[in-house]
Symmetry: C2
């Protein structure tokens, strides 16, 4: 919140009031036929006020557009990135020849390669290193599964309709746009009004359907395209619905997340893991969200790739043996308290965050650390990455703790990975719905003595008293929890009988001492049966990719200095193509060498692009810098060639038969560019290859 | 067709007729009060006939069940494979805790790993080696795209409904089951009837809705579960339908193939490829088929992974520069002619098949060869793999040629890869629907002179003659093709006027000499514009996986000889886990070594399983043989360990710090097991590791 903006709004508001009063005074003087000197003086005062007001307006305008000029810069940067991405086919709007469909994008060839590299690394970094159990379940999901998970009832956004055309809008988006527009463009609103609008923006996500509707009415918000009036907000389920089989009787949905496909398999996976906890299952796949009106380009789409981990753990022991490996990591964390008290994210040691209980437990902390390592290995800038804890009102009621890995890009801070301790919620929900117990067992080395509540209805007495209703009364008695049962016991002891509500009968019955025995018993238990907690790191692969594109993009002047060239700074791990092969000039000998090198690259499993055109080397470099290709191999002799590194533009000379292995070494991370730079002669500037 | 079965049916039929006649004769003799001797003789003859009939019945039964006893063996084998696959969680029925849903299966951990290995190899073998352009488009597809491709109108199966319960069945399946059952179980049908049923089975796929309905009525086929009568067959569209966005006005479908996502991007991909042909695009992704009533387990599912290639090529030049690399391959091919003439598939040199024009062109041939190499590298048995050419009636009207890679498994010969020359059909269909020309250009080095037809209507004359209809007549004249136009010109020259049908008017008009000029003109052309042909290899990944499981499965006796142990013979490329690490006995030193080896395996990117249980080594081997793990590392000292190969059970001794690199060498295919066996000491049988 900018204080000077508020002050200026206040000053402007007061000046306007003074101006109105003075204008009224002038009118009155004129109407009363006062003498011209008096009128003249009043008009001069009025003009002075007008000048003051205009000056304040200019200052306010500067302040307001100052914050939006940052937005303009971000917008320009984003446009440059997006232009490059689209031109080089990293992605393209799906079904473009049919005009495109909002919220759907294709990955083109370099985008596909980046995605496939990220997913391979994800499998290496998480599945392989942690021995996770990967599963692959269908996108089409029967209704009962998503009924149990809560998605059928609760996976909704509030929508309003243009009352004449039927066009649909997200209610919160319209209110948000209205408030922002008002704050940025309308200088005449009072400071109180401005504060109110800012408050609405702050609590937007918490507004109920009724509150949203009331605000839309109060502000007179209409349909953006037609200015028609809008319906009341109502929930729209965001799942794509379909029907399984030909009967029309088996509704299904396209899954909104891959997690449910793991939960329903818990029993088999637990068995596969030798009936031992903890273990993690993982799934990579498509998920779907039928957005009301998608915005924000690649960040808010209707179909996307998720990579999700469900780490099942004993709720009584959330320690993690490998936590010490990440405890020393230090990065931006943004705990709940800092957010509420208006502070900003601070660098913090992960070990400290866990030991101070800022992060709920070691396992959650371990995954936060692993996610940090994953994202920064891809090339996400660690200065624009933070882990933000969910506020109490953001978190599901069952969640123990939740942290989002947020990456800053031109759209602001974007949630790219959610890391949540979901406690036992999901497994319990599916246990209840399916009647299949999704539980784990802990066998005790020695049997343990535990106190158990026993409720023993005396059926003979109950039968005499309740006849045909006996069964319902017995069931209701047995269903009492410990507190209810102990209360009944003490009442029976003190009063001899109690009134007891039997919900299946819908009425009270009188229970006396002889009808039920309630007591506690010491039992020997050989095992503990419990529902595991689940810690879920969930990765939005498309969002990570988009942020990575922004973080990797930079421009630098061409050699002639007459234009800016685009470069993607991808690490070899991510780069869609690892190297290019250019014969320096069009000549059969060089082309033969290029083909020979290409063959050895293929054999080494290195993706490359060969460019035999006679275009200048500088132009060919520029073309591939724009694809983020880290190394360019230029064939300028038949025995040795030059390898040029993208960002430093440094060049080394390597023998033809060593090229593939040198490139492979650096790409696989076994050597750095600095290592090979030291080992091979650098290319002298007098040599033919130059940009 | 089995002649002896036919002979027996004929003999049985004749014997039955003789028996009926004799029985009648006996009745008549008795009714006529004939003497007991005569009756006795007649009854003896009758009994002899009965004996004869029974003997023939037995023979026929043996023949009929002889062919089905093969089926029983196959069924037993399949059950053994499936039991192992399900028990070891290669796959499991999806949403099992909710009772499962027909046609949906999950891949469990080893299944996921096998799938991911196959897809990685596919990318290496096709995308990387051929420099293909990979794309990744959404599963949700707007209706207009699938309208253009023909799926909305034609992607159907014929369905019948139980008239009382509404249960749906595939019409052809019911007819097929009826015919098979009748042939296998009913010995009394006449040879003619048997021949008819066999004919129905042969032409089943070609029957129209009416013909299918008529056969179902004729045979009195009823609903299998209820015996209720059935509706007439009607088409059911096999796409899962959904709705995009909240309005309900934008229908969409889950894509039935990934190919359309490539075709609609042709223009951008062609540009990306420098406006040059040929090039190939590829896509891996989910596809969907809302089967009426799925059968055949993993082979006929409602959601599956496809890997598809669309190779775009100049229709006038379908040669392929790399064809010589595959020309020498020899494998089973089953051309159209061999099928029609009742021969079986024969081994053939691919080069010969192309040079003899059995395979339509080199590019198609090249892909057949590459598919052969792909499948056999995975471990598909080349003796149970054939390439079958589509018969004329199987092929789409636009297709130039089509070959299926069929793999034999317990279900019979299964189509796993389709390799089709689809000519220009798909690009033309999308060009028409979208009005975006999806064409390629060939620039001529020298401009070429070509003869062009010119049709020049004389509007003044036509206006005078047809007034308001002039426009329609002009359009109809201009729309004539070359043949029609030249015919009109010669008729106008000889007769001065002609009758001409204008379809937009629905009638003939009279055209005379002065109304239109038709002639040919020599023009200079600088380029050729054409719609590329597309050659499409399309891989059903799930089907390949299932066949691979069957081809890889075998059993061998345990060391004690008291049980059969299951083994999957996966090559390292495919194996879900590359090696296991076993400390020979539970002891801290060995466990430390095991952990150290595990770490080096992770660093080398090799998936492994560590088993620290005290179970006998033999049992631990058996457990992992069943997962197809090729190598087991047993820690039996702190300095060197044994590596055991799965199929030969041979063992070598390797130093602890060399283990990971030795395993990696063999797994990456840089050495064979035979190579390392020669390099390292083999494990002597007196040493502790034994099974």
């Amino acid at each position: 919140m900018d204080m000077s903006e508020n002050d200026l709004r206040q000053a402007l508001f007061e000046k306007q009031a003074a101006l109105d009063a003075q204008a009224e005074a002038v009118r009155e003087l004129k109407a009363a036929g006062s003498d011209t000197d008096a009128v003249h003086a009043a008009v001069l005062a009025l003009n002075a006020l007008k000048l003051d007001k205009s000056s304040i307006e200019k200052q306010l305008q500067a302040v307001v557009s100052g914050s939006s000029s940052g937005a303009v810069t971000r917008e320009t940067f984003r446009q440059a990135v997006i232009n490059t991405l689209e031109r080089r086919l990293f992605y393209l709007p799906s079904f473009k020849i049919y005009g495109g469909f909002a919220g759907f994008y294709d990955n083109g060839p370099p985008g596909c390669a980046v995605k496939s590299n990220i997913l391979s690394f994800w499998r290496q970094h998480f599945v392989l290193e942690e021995n996770m159990l990967e599963v692959d379940s269908p996108c089409v999901t029967p209704e009962i599964v998503l009924k149990a998970s809560g998605h059928v009832d609760k996976f909704t956004d509030l929508m309003v309709k243009d009352e004449k055309t039927g066009t649909c809008y997200r209610a919160d988006h319209l209110l948000k746009d209205f408030c922002k527009e008002k704050l940025e463009k309308d200088l005449s609103i009072s400071p109180e009004k401005a504060a109110e609008l800012r408050h609405v923006l702050a609590v937007l996500d918490d507004l109920s359907s009724e509150e949203l509707g009331a605000k839309i009415k109060e502000y007179g918000i209409t349909a953006p395209d037609t200015k028609n009036s809008l319906s009341d907000p109502y929930p729209f389920n965001l799942m794509f619905q379909t029907s399984i089989g030909p009967s029309g009787l088996s509704p299904g949905y396209m899954r909104p997340e891959t997690a449910q496909g793991i939960f329903v398999n818990f029993k088999d996976l637990y068995y596969y893991n030798g009936n031992k906890l903890p273990f993690a299952a993982a799934q990579i796949g498509q998920a779907f969200r039928n957005e009301i009106s998608p915005r924000q380009g690649l960040l808010r789409v209707r179909e996307f790739t998720l990579a999700e981990i469900e780490h099942f753990v004993d709720p009584e022991d959330k320690s993690h043996p490998k936590f010490p490996e990440v405890a020393k990591l230090e990065f931006f964390m943004f705990p709940r308290e800092q957010q509420v008290s208006g502070q900003s994210a601070k660098k913090m040691l992960l070990g400290e965050a866990v030991s101070k209980a800022i992060v709920n437990n070691e396992t959650l902390g371990y995954f936060i650390g692993r996610v940090y390592l994953f994202l920064t290995s891809l090339g996400i800038d660690k200065e624009r990455l933070r882990f933000r804890q969910h506020l109490a009102n953001e978190m599901a009621h069952y969640a123990a703790d939740c942290w989002d890995a947020e990456i800053e890009c031109s759209y602001g801070w974007i949630e790219c990975v959610g890391i949540a301790d979901r406690s036992a919620y999901d497994l319990r929900a599916h246990s209840e719905k399916s009647a299949v117990p999704l539980v784990a067992h802990e066998k005790f080395v020695e049997p343990r003595e535990v106190e158990k509540l026993v409720i023993a209805p005396v059926k003979k007495e109950l039968g005499l008293a309740f006849k045909g209703n006996q069964k319902m009364v017995v069931e209701a008695l047995e269903a009492m929890d410990e507190k209810e049962a102990m209360e009944m016991r003490s009442n029976l002891e003190s009063q001899g009988e109690v009134e007891f509500f039997v919900c299946t009968l819908g009425k009270n019955v009188t229970i006396n001492k002889n009808m039920v025995a309630i007591f506690k018993e010491i039992k020997k238990e050989h095992q503990r049966v419990f529902t595991p907690s689940v810690i879920e790191p969930s990765f939005g692969i498309g969002r990570i990719m988009y942020c990575l594109y922004e973080h990797s993009f930079y421009t630098r002047p061409s050699k002639a200095g007459d234009e800016q060239l685009n470069v993607f700074l991808f690490p070899p791990l991510v780069a869609p193509i690892k190297c290019t092969v250019f014969p320096l000039v069009q000549n059969q000998q060089y082309e033969e060498v290029a083909k020979q090198i290409a063959k050895s690259l293929t054999a080494a499993g290195i993706s490359y692009k060969i460019d035999m055109t006679g275009t200048s080397i500088g132009k060919r470099y520029a073309r591939t810098d724009e694809l983020g290709v880290p190394f360019a191999i230029t064939v300028d002799s038949t025995t040795s060639v030059t390898i040029r590194e993208r960002d430093s533009k440094e060049q080394i000379r390597v023998n033809v038969d060593e090229v593939a292995s040198v490139v492979k070494e650096v790409i696989d991370g076994h050597s750095t560019w600095a290592d090979v730079l030291w080992r091979y002669p650098t290319h002298s500037s007098s040599a033919p290859v130059d940009e």
